[in-house]
């Protein structure tokens, strides 16, 4: 039996690492849980329904808790899906998704308080939709096409709500409610959960 050379060993290590990375990318590619998105969509619809009964449709007392509940639900659903497919939840790809989404989401949080403080709440729905769309579109480059399209659709809805603030609540319901539910079903159908 011949002894593998140093170069053979190095190549073998690199090849196994490549296989691991590729498998991880493919798994994480569809790691976004469809059921989590559907549940977030239902929370979005409920929030829109509650907001419709208020004078200010961008009522922070409704939308901030709704966002927090959605994040918890989506994270839990992603964790369950990752466990089901034996994929590490906080993999390299997941970290990159978090990093590319974070700037837009942090900017959204800062602008929320700035605009609210300046009494420009009518611009909040458009800003939320546009920045969430920017984050999802960027994060979606590391995920399935449906997620990328969802991000772009949010950008369009955000643009509509910024151009015509009167449409804000309807756009929020369509985006955070309808779009999440529709894309969630698409992920469940195509990527098994």
């Amino acid at each position: 039996m011949s002894i593998p050379t140093q170069q053979d060993q190095q190549e073998a290590k690199e090849t196994l690492a490549f296989i691991r990375r590729t498998m991880e990318s493919a798994s994480t590619f569809s790691a976004v849980s469809g059921w989590g998105l559907i549940a977030s969509g239902i929370v979005g619809l409920l929030a829109a329904w509650l907001a419709s009964m208020r004078v200010n449709p961008a009522e922070l007392q409704i939308w901030i808790p709704a966002a927090a509940v959605s994040v918890v639900i989506a994270s839990g659903a992603n964790a369950i899906k990752a466990r089901g497919s034996n994929t590490p939840l906080w993999s390299g790809v997941m970290q990159r998704i978090a990093w590319v989404m974070a700037p837009a989401l942090i900017a959204g949080a800062l602008l929320t308080f700035a605009l609210h403080g300046q009494g420009a709440s009518q611009l909040l729905p458009g800003m939320w939709l546009a920045l969430y769309g920017a984050g999802v579109t960027a994060g979606g480059t590391l995920s399935v096409r449906a997620v990328r399209w969802m991000g772009m659709a949010f950008l369009v809805l955000g643009a509509a709500a910024l151009i015509e603030p009167g449409l804000g609540l309807a756009m929020l319901a369509v985006g955070f409610g309808g779009l999440h539910v529709a894309v969630g079903f698409d992920l469940v159908w195509r990527h098994g959960g």
């Binding site: 002894i3 053979d8 590729t22 991880e24 569809s30 990527h191």
Partner: protein, 107 residues
């Protein structure tokens, strides 16, 4: 690695990096579209097509062509032969590293 009997036993078809990537991705995800595979492997349409065709010819992957919203759609999945080939390939890589480790311990 060509002169080494260990590496000579490797499956040459999936030893090529792009084909190994296709098989690895499909081992992790049951079914992937052409576009998804292209994004995962960060490659061009032409390159992916060429290598996928070779794997299909060898029976390692199955190609399903259809339509979605009236647009053509190509999806790939791994066959049992392809899965077995990847398992054997990984086993050979592991064996190679073990042999190297044992040789190091002997010296």
């Amino acid at each position: 690695m060509a002169d080494n009997p260990v590496s000579e036993e490797l499956d040459r078809l999936i030893h090529e990096r792009m084909r190994l990537g296709i098989v690895s991705a499909l081992a992790a995800e049951e079914r992937l579209s052409f576009g998804d595979l292209k994004a995962i492997l960060k490659t061009s349409d032409g390159n992916l097509s060429v290598h996928a065709r070779k794997l299909e010819k060898a029976g390692y992957i199955k190609v399903e062509k259809g339509f979605e919203d009236r647009k053509p759609k190509t999806e790939y999945c791994l066959t049992p032969i392809g899965r077995r080939a990847l398992e054997l390939y990984i086993d050979r890589m592991d064996a190679l590293l073990n042999e190297a480790r044992e040789a190091l311990e002997r010296t």
